[in-house]
């Protein structure tokens, strides 16, 4: 059915000349506008017809809370045990309660933790990684960020194993039960990954209160999906021969799963673990709003008090931590078992673990006698906060006029008119137009889904905010693509440029979204322009990466064929490389849009007026209904954009015979 529609419309589209396509689009737009005008309430959604989803959800959450207090409390207590252990050992010291009073076990000495960081780096990635890891931890200590950083690290250390185990189990279920996977798991993952991070916090706050446990669970929900995907993908990719072998060896189902499939899928699984770690870090920072504490909380406090230097320092500590975690976990993923390892006695096989424990034990015992081991001594720490502040002051004093002029011009002549245009669009017309586009690209079902999701945004009374989000996200994605695609093209045509660009975008991608806001706020203060700049910086990476990759993977024979046909370099690019790389570039654009959306939402913290702001306001009032509805509306924007672009890419690929 869909196939028939697709090929049919395809051939029709292909036959139409350009001006007729333009006329067709103009006609459809005119019809949609006319319908919105004629149908009563088709332009502005009537307030009295708003469907009270928010109230229903709030009522449901209240009921949930009242009915399952025993469950939420039990869960909280259960999760709290490892959490308190980790926080105790890394950050605060662990209290053991006795019949009378308590004794406090000292936390691990910072000297020991730095040494262990270096050692782990060495074990997985040699001297270079050892230096990176050890020095990074040392820097965190010397810049007075140790306590907060360890709190953040403790949360991650507890969260990651839980996410990995949950993701693995759900992924296995999805692999074994393709129907459940298609109908239940994958849509749930799509939703979980497009709902903005803030929206997770609200129900957690409501059910578990303002505590590290809430933060941990919100983080878990956010960080588990890539593990599920990696597991399903990894298990499906195990070669059929190996699956057959497991059967022929007479494995029971359990043996086949745990002794053959899971170990064979390990490389994919480890990539999933790396993603879990990075997402967990990202989310732990954001969860600081509901009591996670740690570095994110420091940034939040500093931003609220406009303490530029402190915010920058804590932000940098997050970046450093992120880079270390990323590089070490990637190196660990590439580890292969050592030859002859099984021949050695157990204490040799576990030598690393024993060494780590010994180092921690010795340095921590030493900290009982030497205070310098317990707490980073003030004499050797220093702060860069004044320097940052001075730099910002200097820029402000000298260039305030220029920056302000740019900001205001952009705002007045570009952003505000665009915003007004978007916010004035009729809801019914947009629903019809998007549905029409979906029908042409992917058939009737896509059209129905897109229409329903778009209508949701209007019927919940959030149309203006939805359009505001669309405008910010659209402008940001457009700018990111306009910057990213040319850079990607440039990188694809020169190995030297690629060598410079790659580590740069790798680092950019490692940095948690929250940290992009800090430097921009310092220069441009709060508002739409700041949000746009931070979002573009965050979302530009996939545009560069996919463009570069897409052009580079154009088959060599095609280029040779083009050259042999006498193409100039310019013709080769425009007529061979670019068309073949187009689907890949579109995928990059898709990623850019999704990243823009997630970042725009976080920018609610710096005063944008859109759906993100609705979620943010709901968070401060712990209003789960409003928060979730606005969150869903954001998720739906992401899902619509993703589905439309994917359908378009599939069509492109089918046309070129690449599918």
């Amino acid at each position: 059915m869909t196939d028939a529609v697709l090929t049919h419309s395809d051939s029709r589209m292909g036959a139409l000349p350009g001006w007729r396509v333009a006329a067709l689009v103009a006609g459809v737009v005119a019809v949609a506008l006319a319908i919105s005008w004629i149908v009563p309430g088709g332009w502005d959604y009537p307030t009295q017809a708003i469907i009270p989803f928010a109230e229903w959800i709030s009522a449901f959450m209240q009921w949930l809370k009242a009915t399952f207090t025993w469950l939420t409390r039990g869960l909280a207590d259960l999760v709290n045990i490892p959490l308190q252990l980790a926080i105790g050992f890394l950050a605060k010291g662990y209290r053991i309660y006795l019949t009378e009073g308590f004794i406090t076990l000292p936390r691990f000495s910072w000297v020991g933790v730095c040494a262990v960081a270096a050692f782990v780096g060495y074990r997985f990635g040699g001297l270079k990684l050892a230096l990176l890891s050890g020095l990074s931890f040392l820097a965190i200590a010397l810049f007075r960020q140790w306590d907060s950083a360890m709190l953040t690290l403790a949360l991650i250390l507890v969260c990651v194993p839980i996410c990995v185990a949950t993701g693995l189990l759900v992924g296995i279920w999805g692999y074994l039960n393709p129907k459940a996977n298609r109908v239940l798991i994958m849509p749930a993952l799509d939703l979980l990954q497009t709902i903005p991070t803030f929206a997770y916090l609200i129900p957690m706050l409501l059910l578990f209160g303002n505590s590290p446990v809430s933060a941990l669970l919100a983080t878990g929900l956010f960080a588990t999906p890539p593990m599920v995907r990696a597991t399903v993908l990894g298990l499906s990719k195990v070669p059929q021969d190996i699956k057959d072998f497991a059967d022929m060896a007479g494995c029971t189902r359990r043996q086949k799963l745990w002794r053959v499939l899971v170990p064979s899928a390990k490389p994919s699984l480890m990539l999933g673990v790396n993603q879990v770690i990075m997402l967990a870090l990202n989310m732990v920072i954001i969860s600081s709003m509901i009591g996670a504490g740690g570095l994110g909380y420091d940034v939040l406090l500093a931003l609220r008090a406009l303490k530029v230097g402190q915010a920058m320092e804590a932000g940098l500590a997050i970046v450093v931590l992120a880079i270390v975690l990323d590089r070490v976990s990637q190196a660990a993923a590439q580890q292969r078992p050592e030859q002859d390892a099984m021949q050695k006695p157990w204490f040799q096989r576990h030598a690393s673990l024993i060494a780590i424990l010994a180092v921690l034990l010795v340095t921590t015992l030493a900290s009982l006698g030497l205070p310098a081991f317990g707490k980073v001594p003030n004499e050797i720490t220093f702060t860069t906060a004044p320097a940052w502040k001075a730099a910002v002051d200097w820029v402000t004093v000298n260039y305030f006029d220029v920056i302000e002029a740019v900001r205001i011009t952009f705002l007045l002549y570009v952003l505000n008119p665009l915003r007004a245009f978007f916010e004035g669009l009729p809801w019914l017309g947009v629903v019809l137009l998007l549905a029409f586009a979906a029908w042409r690209l992917g058939g009737i079902w896509l059209a129905v889904i897109v229409a329903l999701l778009t209508a949701f945004c209007a019927t919940t009374g959030l149309w203006v905010q939805t359009m505001a989000t669309l405008y910010l996200c659209g402008v940001a994605a457009l700018i990111a693509a306009a910057i990213g695609i040319p850079i990607g093209v440039w990188a694809s045509r020169s190995d030297r440029v690629e060598k410079v660009v790659t580590p740069f975008i790798d680092t950019l991608q490692t940095i948690p979204s929250f940290c992009f806001i800090i430097p921009v706020v310092m220069l441009f203060r709060v508002g739409d322009v700041t949000a746009l700049i931070a979002t573009v910086a965050f979302a530009v990476v996939p545009a560069i990466r996919y463009t570069n990759h897409g052009i580079r993977q154009v088959p060599h024979e095609l280029i040779e064929a083009g050259t042999a046909a006498g193409c100039t370099k310019r013709q080769l690019f425009w007529r061979v490389q670019l068309p073949v790389a187009m689907p890949e570039i579109m995928l990059g654009l898709n990623q850019t849009i999704l990243l823009s959306l997630s970042m725009i939402v976080i920018c609610a913290m710096i005063g944008t007026r859109d759906l993100g702001q609705e979620v943010f306001k709901a968070l401060s009032k712990a209003d789960s209904g409003k928060g979730l509805v606005a969150g869903l509306a954001i998720a739906f924007i992401g899902i619509i954009a993703d589905r439309l672009i994917t359908a378009w890419v599939d069509r492109l690929k089918a046309k070129r015979g690449l599918a």
Binding site: P239, D241, I242, D244, F245, D247, M248, A249, G250, C251, T252, Q255, R259, V260, P263, S264, K266, R336, P337, Q339, D340, M342, Q343
Partner: protein, 349 residues
């Protein structure tokens, strides 16, 4: 075969594997007999159609066909890696398709071994652990497992590589591990699914000889899948040729060469070196009374083993059976005709 009939180890009768919606229902309704046309009208794909084979104990039975002929599907039906749509499979005189899941696991653990085209070694285990894996899933104790795994590793000539990982071995070595692993449980029937197809030609030939050497020691019942007719000729006791899901001929290499059932088979046999395939008895004619013989050959001796001698002697050789009884004679002219590729008239055995 002229051998004393050995008992049948594995057989199938009117076996079908049909893909498509409602395949089982369709086959039941048509009582296990459907034409290719009827299948395509029902929008079904017959990957294996009315296959019937008997694999005797201790023989190498080769299923040969080009890609898409259904040979791998047939093997997977025989081992129940996929369930046949229709028909019977008998293993050890029992209805194999009726075996329950637990019985199936038990049979595979004790009686079956399989070698795969792409080796299917577990990347996270060493050679020793890979070879010991089938024993380990049965719960064989560690020391015994090590001993038995080591024994088969020695047998396939991989001594000294026990603690290597698969990625550290060459393709040929990896397949030796695959072979050792399939032999570790001392299976009664040995499935080899294009075991040498992924190897370079030189290594392939070496592995074929290795297989023959092993078979001389082990005398397993073997079902061997290949797309390489020369490989089939070289290794097989009997060959089944498949095309489009059907078996079009089953016979010893010599029979296929002498009496190809269809043009398709003849196409394969055309370039075969006949001196390697044909035996003295197929060139034999009745011995002229009192005729002179320059030598004596066994009825089953391949022509290439005595071709030089008989042409040099320029006199007929006597052909004798296993007990030395005179059956007939082979003339030098017949051998020369054969070597020159002239049409060979089939002689009466």
């Amino acid at each position: 075969m002229t051998d004393v009939k050995r008992p049948v180890k594995l057989s199938c009768r009117n076996l079908w594997k049909v893909f498509g919606a409602g395949a089982e229902e369709f086959m039941r309704r048509s009582n296990g007999a459907a034409s290719a046309q009827a299948l395509s009208e029902a929008r079904l794909i017959g990957a294996v159609r009315q296959a019937s084979i008997d694999v005797h104990e201790g023989e190498i039975f080769i299923v040969m066909g080009l890609s898409g002929s259904g040979k791998s599907t047939l093997l997977r039906c025989l081992s129940r890696l996929i369930e046949p749509t229709y028909g019977d499979v008998n293993f050890d005189g029992r209805d194999f398709l009726k075996a329950s899941d637990t019985e199936l696991i038990e049979i595979r653990r004790r009686k079956m071994g399989m070698v795969f085209q792409h080796f299917a070694l577990l990347p996270h285990l060493t050679v020793l652990e890979n070879v010991g894996f089938p024993l380990s899933v049965q719960g064989v104790p560690k020391t015994e497992l090590k001993k038995r795994a080591q024994a088969v590793i020695d047998l396939v000539g991989l001594k000294g590589r026990e603690h290597h990982y698969p990625r550290e071995l060459s393709g040929g070595q990896q397949q030796r591990v695959g072979i050792a692993r399939s032999l570790a449980v001392e299976p009664e029937i040995w499935f080899l699914d294009e075991p040498f197809s992924a190897l370079d030609p030189l290594i392939r030939r070496e592995m074929q000889s290795e297989l023959m050497r092993l078979q001389n020691v082990l005398k397993k019942t073997i079902v061997f899948i290949t797309h390489d007719f020369d490989e089939a000729i070289k290794l097989a006791d009997r060959i089944a040729i498949m095309k489009d899901g059907e078996i079009i001929q089953i016979g010893a290499p010599e029979e296929l060469v002498l009496n190809p059932a269809t043009d398709y088979v003849a196409e394969f046999t055309r370039d075969v070196n006949r001196a390697k395939v044909m035996s003295a008895q197929s060139l034999m004619r009745a011995s002229a009374a009192g005729g002179q013989h320059a030598g004596k050959v066994d009825a089953k001796a391949k022509v290439e083993t005595f071709a030089a001698a008989i042409v040099g002697a320029n006199l007929p050789f006597a052909v004798t059976d296993g007990n030395g009884r005179l059956l007939g004679e082979v003339t030098p002219q017949a051998v020369i005709d054969l070597l020159a590729g002239r049409h060979v008239k089939q002689a009466q055995p």
